[in-house]
Every structure is written in C-alpha cells, then in structure tokens.
C-alpha cells in the first residue's frame, strides 16, 4: 500500500525543513527555554518550596512547565505553515497527508526534547536536585511523544479556527491529562528510586497513549487539513 522508504523520506524532509527554519530564525527554542525558566521561577514563589518538599514536587513542577512551554512550540510550528499559506505547498505535493502529520509531530517532539534537556540542568542547579536519571529521561521521551502526537493534531485544527492561540490550550489540556498524570507519577518514582513494579503501570499507560493517539492522528490528519 504505502511504500515505506519514500514515506519516511517525506517525514524526514519535513522534520529537516522545520529544523532549518528554526536554525535560521532561532526564535522558538530560545523563547520556549526562557518561558520554561520563568515558569519554574513562578512556581518557586507560588509554592514556597522548601528543600525537602522540592524533591517530591519536582516532577510535578517540571511537567507543568513542559506542558505550558510545549504550547509555544505547537503554536509556532503551525504558524510557520500558516504564514504565506505554506501548508498549501505541502498539500499540493504528491505526498501522503499522514506523512505531513508525522513530520510535524517529530519536529515538535524534537523541540520539546531540546527544551527539556536544557531545563533539567537549570532546575537541578536552582533546587539542588539531581535530575540526571535514566528513567526520568525515558519518561520525558515518552511524554514528549504523547504530547506532540495529540498537540500536532489539535494545533492543525486550531490553526483553522478563530482565536487559535486561545483555543489550542483549551482543546489540548483535557486530552493531555493521561500523559501528564502518568508522566508525573513515573518521573517522581524514578527520582525517588522506587522499584520498577511501581513504575510499570504509568509507563504502560504512556505507551498505550503513544500508540493510540498517533494511530488516530494518522487516520484523522487528512480530515483536518482537507477542504
């Protein structure tokens, strides 16, 4: 049905294109990073975290930060295509629509990961918490995958609506809760060094979400971008 290599080729091209756009403008990563750090700072004042509470609440604060900073990335990713109606250029090309979905999704995921990897050491320094934990990195990977899979699909919808920047968080956050709750739980347990038996349920949920949503994205993206 779909020949795999050309399909992957298209996906890779779109990711590279988004990376190239970001490389030349360098707006997105910088804004997301600054935003993330500001959010962490605000949490500091809002929650008055003392040293003990910090390590327990770290995973929650981190994931709340990623959730908000992520919307910046999604908005930017979609507005590149909206400017000059570049999305039509993609739709004119003889490529599978779903390849566009996966391409944008991987691009969004990539930017989220960059921001996460830059935020972690900053958080670690500010709160004297060791965040370099293989398990945590795995959860961030799964969480970013889940986030971008639902976020890319919804951003494509919001892009075509009125007041799109207001609409995206409203559409996104209710559907994102399984990812957030599981990611916070799994990250927290990894940081506390608990046994895997406690962590598996959350990881399984992240995996399940990470299979179901991209599958739906694959099926629905065409309906979202067609006219």
């Amino acid at each position: 049905m779909i020949r795999v290599l050309p399909y992957l080729g298209v996906v890779v091209r779109i990711v590279r294109k988004d990376l190239a756009v970001e490389w030349r403008s360098r707006q997105l990563v910088a804004s997301m990073l600054v935003f993330a750090l500001l959010v962490i700072l605000i949490f500091n004042f809002a929650l008055e975290l003392d040293a003990r509470a910090r390590s327990e609440l770290s995973s929650g604060v981190l994931w709340a930060t990623f959730a908000f900073a992520g919307t910046l990335g999604l908005n930017r990713s979609m507005s590149i295509e909206k400017n000059g109606q570049a999305i039509d250029g993609l739709l004119l090309a003889p490529v599978d629509r779903s390849a566009i979905y996966f391409g944008k999704m991987l691009g969004n995921m990539f930017f989220m990961l960059i921001v996460a990897l830059l935020t972690l050491p900053a958080y670690g320094i500010l709160y004297n918490v060791n965040l370099f934990n293989g398990g945590l990195l795995l959860v961030i990977l799964l969480g970013a995958w889940g986030y971008s899979s639902i976020g890319t699909l919804l951003a494509a919808m919001a892009m075509q609506a009125r007041s799109r920047e207001l609409l995206l968080p409203v559409l996104l956050f209710p559907l994102l809760i399984p990812v957030l709750v599981s990611a916070v739980r799994a990250s927290g347990y990894f940081l506390e060094g608990l046994e895997m038996v406690y962590i598996w349920p959350s990881l399984n949920l992240l995996l399940a979400y990470g299979v179901i949503i991209p599958t739906l994205g694959y099926m629905f993206f065409d309906f979202v971008v067609e006219e």
Binding site: R13, K17, V21, Q85, L92, P94
Partner: protein
C-alpha cells in the same frame, strides 16, 4: 489534460460553483475571466486538488480524482494568491525542499537553472521574507514549474507585479504552452488574457457564461461584446 464534468462546490449554504464543464487540451493556454467573487479561485483550488468538489468529476492528465489524487498531484503546478514559501528559508532551500517532495531528478542542476531563469541567483541565500512581492512571485512560479508539470494553474499571476517580472512570466507561459503544458490562468485583466490566451472562458457567479476563441477576442469590438455578456450574465445570476 484538464477535464471537469458538472463540478459544483458548496461552502455551507453558498453555492460557489455550479455545474462547471471545462476541457483544456495539452498545449492550450486558456484564460479564465470573471469579476471578483465569481469562483475563479475556487475552481483553481479544485483543479489543483487542494479542495474537493461537492459534486462532479475532475480528470487531470488522465487521472480520475479523487482516487488517483496522489499521482495527479505530481503533474500539477499551482500558483495562487499566496506565495506558498517559507519566509525564513532561502530561495534555494525552499526549492530544494519542494524538489525533494516532488522527487525531482538532479535537483541541484534544476534549481540552478530556475534561479537563473527567474533572475534570482544573486539573492538565492537570503531569507525569502526579505524579497519584494515581484521576487516572491518569481520564486513561487519557479516552485510551480520545478517538477516539470503537465498542467499549470495560475490564479491572477500578474497582480501587482513589476514590468520585468511580467515579461519573464509571459515568456515562461508561452514556452510552457509550446512544450505541451495545459495552462489555465485566472485573471480579471482582459488585456493579459488577450495577449496570452488561445481561448477565454467567462465565469460569472459560479457558472461558465461564455467561451471565446482567439479569433473572436483579438478584434477591437471584443471589449464591448465582453462587457455586454458580463452584464447580462450578472443580471441573470441575480434573478436566481
């Protein structure tokens, strides 16, 4: 090359196109004339497969749509109101990206050739958002013909262009038509149509109202005939 049978398009409750039957052969350059809001852009979007008709059949380069849409897209070049370019990327980067999507053979050579043809080779590494309207349009045109399509669809390509670019555009269109490309150009400027086209179709309020061959519209009396036909078609449309 381009065929439509009974194509209609409805947006919500508004009927944008009604029962359009069109036939354009290879090497034919047809101008689609009509007032604003007639549905020219909608028709072009349907022919470029960006939009699906509500009713009706479209055949492009022998491919029946929507089943063979992907194959058909490789044969279509489209120039719309918007440049369809990534402002942050350079001209070469934009063309290279599309060359990859269209699987153009020997892309570097082709890109170089086009940049030279459209006189963009000296600004080829600057971000496109710094380009003037004329340059963006030239680049958009380059993108449209990059993959050597057999069908060219242009939506008011001459609008707000400098004389130099208009000359390049007209030369390109003639060359493409000579090569056997079927070209449909929407415009509300009668002079451009008269200069370039072999046939003119008039679209008013979503319906094809009249069709004239070159021999008919090259004459001086044509302007009066055109105005009469246009007015008659417009009053007729309001009566529905």
């Amino acid at each position: 090359m381009i065929e439509t049978h009974g194509v209609s398009k409805r947006f919500g409750y508004r009927l944008a196109l009604e029962s359009v039957d069109l036939r354009i052969k290879a090497g034919e350059l047809v101008a689609l004339l009509g007032p604003n809001g007639a549905g020219k852009s909608t028709l072009l979007r349907i022919l470029s497969l960006l939009t699906r008709p509500t009713v009706g059949e479209v055949v492009i380069a022998g491919f029946h749509l929507p089943m063979q849409a992907s194959a058909a897209r490789a044969e279509i070049g489209f120039l719309g109101h918007q440049p369809l370019l990534y402002g942050e990327l350079s001209a070469s980067q934009n063309l290279a990206f599309y060359a990859g999507l269209y699987r153009v053979k020997r892309p570097e050579a082709r890109i170089k050739e086009l940049l030279k043809l459209f006189d963009l080779q000296f600004r080829s590494n600057e971000p496109v958002r710094t380009f003037s309207r004329g340059m963006q349009q030239r680049l958009a045109l380059a993108r449209a013909v990059l993959h050597g399509p057999n069908v060219l669809l242009l939506d008011e390509p001459h609008s707000s262009l400098d004389r130099e670019t208009v000359a390049i555009l007209d030369e390109l269109l003639q060359a493409q038509a000579d090569k056997g490309t079927a070209i449909l150009m929407a415009t509300h400027n009668l002079l451009h149509a008269q200069r370039l086209a072999q046939r003119v179709e008039l679209l008013v309020a979503g319906c094809l109202a009249a069709s004239w061959k070159r021999s008919q519209f090259a004459s001086k009396q044509f302007l009066a005939l055109y105005d009469r036909t246009l007015r008659r078609a417009q009053t007729g449309a309001h009566r529905d």
